[in-house]
């Protein structure tokens, strides 16, 4: 046993030392990561309180939980993005656009920029899931094309890549979560890539700006008719839900909307009850969560003091 050579001992010690160093490095990383998660938690709560104060509303605990998960997963999945962002909330503007009636306007957008030694990447963070981004790729391509144009042509800065980060869980992850099987969840999470490179192509730029200008003209011209009922019956690209059940159901002004009313008339589920159309407050679970959140704020006890 004692026959080990000095060289062996030295090598062993060195190895041990290296192992310890490596472990310390990992520990430090872990600590830093958990410190950052603590920071995320703290900022998240603060932002939640600020938004609640500003809007006078709260969101139900499950929705709040989902929001926190999105931020945490963004950080866990894409730390290399988060830690290398060089400019956040970069405001891009394309001034001097003109409508056919001569109104001058500016197109604005906000992105994050990562500049490494020789590469510049532009990121746009979306709270949708990646599947819906893929299905609506044109829309995102148009958007990033405009941003890229401002960056490259107007600002004369280099740009190597444009990228969408979609922070909502994709369907595969959501499905895995419903099985409750940790291994499946881990696998789904591992194969999920929230970042998607969007090829940029100046060809479509002009077309996008024309469309944008038409939209501004429509807004200024007061054109506010809802989409036709046929569109409400279509599926939202990249999802199995209909436009009406995705967009309209979250819109409080649907009750006065001709398109939605026409859609609902064709929908037999509410026919049994005269006011089924109006008595729609989301699913029973939604409603239960909503009650839990908002009942915690008790009405004033002494009404006479306030009259």
């Amino acid at each position: 046993m004692i026959k080990r050579t000095a060289a062996q001992i030295k090598a062993d010690l060195l190895k041990r030392d290296q192992e310890i160093r490596e472990q310390m490095r990992l520990l430090a990383l872990e600590q830093e990561a958990s410190e950052l998660e603590l920071l995320i938690l703290e900022r998240f709560e603060r932002n939640y309180e600020t938004l609640a104060l500003e809007s006078g509303r709260r969101i139900s605990p499950d929705v709040k939980e989902a929001a926190l998960k999105q931020v945490l997963m963004y950080w866990r999945k894409l730390p290399e993005v988060a830690t290398t962002v060089t400019q956040t909330e970069v405001r891009l503007s394309l001034p001097n656009q003109r409508t056919s009636t001569g109104t001058v306007f500016t197109i604005e957008g906000v992105v994050d920029i990562i500049r490494d030694n020789d590469r510049t990447v532009m990121y746009d963070i979306k709270t949708h899931d990646i599947d819906s981004v893929v299905s609506n790729i044109e829309l995102y391509q148009q958007q990033l094309n405009v941003y890229a144009h401002i960056w490259q042509t107007l600002r004369q800065q280099e740009l190597h890549e444009t990228c969408i980060i979609a922070t909502a869980f994709p369907k595969a992850v959501r499905d895995a979560v419903t099985t409750g099987d940790d291994a499946k969840i881990d696998a789904a999470l591992a194969s999920w890539n929230p970042a998607l490179t969007i090829p940029f192509d100046q060809q479509t730029l002009e077309q996008t700006i024309i469309q944008f200008t038409q939209t501004v003209e429509a807004i200024e011209g007061g054109q506010f008719a809802p989409p036709p009922v046929s569109r409400l019956q279509e599926r939202v690209p990249g999802s199995r839900t209909l436009y009406a059940t995705r967009i309209c159901i979250n819109c409080d002004s649907r009750f006065s909307c001709n398109a939605y009313r026409a859609y609902a008339e064709g929908d037999q589920t509410t026919a049994a009850d005269e006011f089924g159309f109006y008595n729609d407050y989301g699913t029973a679970i939604d409603q239960s969560e909503w009650l839990s959140t908002n009942l915690s704020i008790a009405p004033p006890a002494d009404i006479d003091d306030l009259i």
């Binding site: 509303r57 962002v85 604005e108 501004v216």
Partner: protein
């Protein structure tokens, strides 16, 4: 690439400054005094001056303090700056971030100062700041408990409440003192505001108080400040005291007096004492204080503004900064045609502004030399023939109709009618009737109570059907009787719809039934608890309690389902096992509340009413572009409803409904206060006035606005002597300001000056001449020389060719373009008209995620910057 210059940028945006404008833009060192006449391009000068500082003199945006009179003006300046800076970035690649720049009203910037760690290092150590706006301050003081404290301070507790109020109100209105608490609250709040703005410490001036009544009010004020300080949780403040707080911060942190390199104050003629002290303190280090304004347009004495701040600015500069400002007059009027400019210039100089016994000194910046840019000699100011107001109104209405029929203006909203006051004015009603007689509709945001207009009447009428009408007490005050008449009218306006819209009746009946049912269930469940000897504040033990609750006699199916629901059962279990975060297990009362709460909020009900024809029409009119008035009013109603929910509760539980508590809070406290305070109609921040209607505005509302055609039908305004509040303030803090006996005449002159300087192309003046109806003396010789409407040919109407290019509007790719693409109607309702969504989880969710990710990025960027610095 050649160096970018200001001239390049001007050329690019089509701006050619005149020599004074250019001098003002390029002035960067020391105090600056800009006297800006009407339509002289002041906003552009401010924009370019700020841009010049940032781009060509390396001043960081966060070191510029730029205040405006309204948040809307601040928003426009910020948008304009963003746009021009965006242009610069496109040339130079140098980005600019305005996120931390101080742009806003002096109120909002005061708040920012208090919460800014750079200026107030101690901010985080204290209680968080809670600023109450006027309505909240009103509710705060009117709470019985708080009001009682003020009455104690006033030493009036021995009197009957009505006599207490009467005693207080006598000071403010000795001729017709009211007996109402509401008036007493309004009166003392107005007085408190003035005391705060004049930085009066009640203890210090107590001995100088001219009367026992003033001493009483000073004691009440002291108590009020004590009450604010005693509130738990937050550091409460009202709007006026907010500025004092900011001033104290700046005084106590020497570094904060060095922080801003440039301080720019717009509409300086409307600032008050505390604001003057604050801005000079902020400028103590840099001395770069630029004030912009026009004393002739000073309108806000009743809010404590002292026009002397502006008129005497050079002397004040000498006093505070020990140097004289550079004075640059912006005197070319681009807005109005020649004759309009001549008319109002003539008008203001017909008054005497001389200081008594001090020759050569004036209560006005008297050497302005306003010049019109337009040199045309065509008539652009006309009057009606002298006559009875009925005839004058008819003449004006006929001419307006002609102008519209001839297509001389695009829309009725281009023709503004300006009045000294809109409330209870027979002249206003006359004019409205005359216009309606020729088929024109009027939009008069301040003519009456907002609640008296159609939309609130119909919405709250429906609410009365659902929640029931409060019982009328034995009170006989005018407000009370009128309010109950309004409640009756509102309920009746909805009943009147029932024949045509039976479905609406059935719907409201069903909702009313739901309300009655949850209350009945609630009482039944309480009875079960009592029978079993359970305390509702005890922890809910499902094993023992659930069955009994479920089997409660007469309980509705809905409540049974709620008690038995899987979702609730699971949640109860999770909380009992402490698996639901740190949330406490449910109390028995929580379970009862949950099982007997309504499914909907008042905002949910508000939006559902939109499905019934009469209400739906309000949305349809906006969608088709025919009339924006109704939806603007819906927007304001939704804001009030949201406010009620914020102040009290979101969910309407049966315990809240029980004993009419909810009903009384909504109708007898919240809405009654809004009714009595005569809150006014919605004013859109972007497009000032709805299309399709002729705006009737007070002259105060018209400040800063311009219209192709302006009508001033009533040129009479009597100068009233200074009131008890002004007299008291003078007695407490003597000043050499405008003499009390001349103040009112000065104010009338300034008010009409504002009215007369709004027209771009045509101004039409009414010439009343009948028993009891006349016009102010200065106008008589002036009107005698004008062409009349009888001879005016509308075909001679010429629009003023000069068009002040507004800073372009910014459209966001996501918040505008994509939102509109998703649904134009949703865009209209929520983004354009600002209706408050009822359950806006999507928006809240998106903002929450984005803000937090931004915070994370910020943190990481900063951390890396520090690491690099350390290396």
């Amino acid at each position: 690439m050649p160096e970018l210059t200001l001239e390049d940028l001007w050329a690019e945006s089509g701006f050619t400054p005149n020599p004074e404008q250019e001098q003002a833009i390029r002035h960067i060192d020391g105090p600056l005094y800009l006297t800006a006449g009407p339509g002289s391009g002041k906003t552009r000068v401010l924009l370019w001056r700020t841009l010049n500082l940032i781009v060509f003199h390396g001043v960081k945006p966060e070191h510029i303090f730029l205040s405006t009179f309204t948040e809307k003006a601040a928003h426009q300046l910020r948008e304009g700056l963003k746009n021009y800076l965006g242009q610069v970035t496109n040339h130079t690649g140098q980005p600019y971030d305005l996120a931390n720049m101080y742009v806003g009203t002096l109120h909002s910037l005061s708040q920012k100062i208090i919460q800014d760690r750079n200026l107030n290092p101690n901010f985080r150590n204290g209680r968080p700041l809670r600023v109450m706006d006027e309505l909240e301050t009103y509710f705060f003081v009117s709470r019985r408990r708080n009001w009682q404290q003020l009455i104690e301070a006033a030493e009036l507790t021995d009197l009957e409440p009505e006599v207490q109020n009467h005693t207080i109100n006598t000071f403010f209105d000795a001729n017709r003192p009211s007996r109402s608490r509401h008036n007493a609250v309004q009166n003392v709040l107005g007085f408190f505001g003035r005391l705060s703005e004049e930085m009066i410490d009640p203890q210090v001036v107590m001995d100088q108080a001219p009367s026992a009544e003033v001493q009483m009010l000073l004691r009440m004020y002291a108590r009020y400040r004590g009450l604010l300080a005693e509130q738990a949780g937050f550091d409460y403040t009202d709007f006026s005291l907010l500025q004092q707080k900011a001033y104290d911060v700046v005084v106590s942190n020497a570094a904060s007096q060095q922080y801003f390199r440039h301080i720019i104050i717009d509409e300086y003629q409307d600032t008050n004492l505390i604001q003057e002290r604050l801005v000079f303190k902020l400028a103590a280090g840099s001395q770069n204080l630029c004030v912009v304004g026009d004393d002739d347009q000073a309108l806000y004495r009743f809010r404590g503004a002292t026009v002397e701040n502006f008129v005497e600015f050079p002397a004040r500069c000498q006093h505070y900064l020990q140097r004289q400002p550079v004075k640059i007059p912006l005197s070319t009027n681009y807005r109005s045609r020649n004759r309009v400019v001549q008319f109002y210039t003539d008008y203001i100089t017909r008054h005497s502004w001389q200081k008594e016994g001090r020759p050569g000194e004036f209560y006005r910046v008297h050497d302005k030399n306003i010049q019109p840019y337009s040199q045309d000699t065509e008539p652009s100011v006309i009057t009606t023939p002298a006559g009875h107001p009925d005839d004058v109104s008819a003449q004006i209405a006929a001419l307006v109709r002609e102008l519209l029929d001839a297509g001389k203006v695009d829309d009725p909203n281009q023709i503004a009618f300006l009045f000294p006051a809109l409330r209870n004015s027979p002249q206003v009603n006359r004019m409205r009737n005359a216009l309606e007689a020729v088929g024109l509709q009027v939009y008069a945001p301040r003519a009456g109570r907002f609640l008296d207009t159609d939309e609130p009447t119909l919405i709250f009428g429906a609410f009365l059907h659902v929640f029931g009408k409060p019982q009328q007490g034995p009170f006989t005050s005018q407000d009370y009787t009128e309010y109950f008449a309004w409640l009756d009218r509102s309920a009746a306006s909805v009943t009147a719809l029932f024949r045509q819209e039976p479905q609406l009746k059935r719907y409201l009946d069903a909702k009313r039934q739901e309300v009655a049912q949850v209350v009945a269930d609630y009482r039944a469940l309480l009875a079960t608890c009592e029978a079993n000897g359970w305390d509702v504040t005890a922890e809910y033990a499902p094993d023992q309690m659930k069955e009994a609750l479920y089997r409660t006699r007469g309980l509705s199916l809905k409540a049974q389902k709620a008690i038995n629901s899987v979702a609730l059962t699971n949640q109860v279990r999770r909380r009992l096992q402490r698996n639901d975060g740190d949330k406490e297990p449910f109390k028995l009362g929580d379970i009862i509340n949950r099982s007997t709460a309504l499914d909907w909020t008042i905002l949910d009900l508000f939006y559902r009413l939109g499905g019934f024809p009469t209400y739906k029409r309000m949305y349809d009119l906006a969608e088709s572009g025919q009339d924006e008035g109704p939806i603007c009013n819906l927007g304001l109603i939704s804001q009030y409803l949201s406010r009620f929910m914020e102040m009290y509760a979101i969910v309407i539980s049966a315990s809240f409904l029980n004993d009419d508590r909810f009903q009384r809070l909504l109708f007898m406290s919240f809405l009654y206060s809004i009714y009595r305070r005569s809150e006014s109609e919605f004013e859109n921040a972007e497009d000032p006035f709805p299309k399709g209607r002729i705006p009737f505005l007070t002259i105060h509302q018209a400040k800063g606005l311009e219209f192709p055609v302006v009508v001033v039908p009533n040129l009479r305004k009597d100068a009233r002597p200074a009131g008890p509040v002004e007299e008291t303030i003078r007695a407490l803090v003597p000043s050499d300001g405008e003499p009390l006996d001349r103040m009112a005449r000065f104010d009338v002159a300034r008010m009409f000056y504002v009215a007369l300087s709004r027209a771009k192309s045509l101004m039409i003046l009414g010439r009343y001449q009948a028993t009891g109806n006349y016009i102010n003396a200065e106008f008589r010789p002036m009107l005698a020389q004008l062409p009349t409407t009888a001879t005016y040919d509308v075909n001679a109407f010429q629009p003023n060719p000069h068009r002040e290019e507004k800073p372009p509007k910014a459209y966001s790719y996501t918040a505008d373009y994509l939102l509109y693409e998703r649904c134009p109607r949703q865009y209209m309702v929520f983004r354009r008209y600002g209706l408050v969504p009822s359950r806006s989880q999507t928006q809240f969710f998106g903002s929450l995620v984005h803000y937090t990710i931004e915070d994370l990025h910020h943190h990481l960027i900063q951390k890396r910057a520090q690491a690099t610095l350390a290396v």
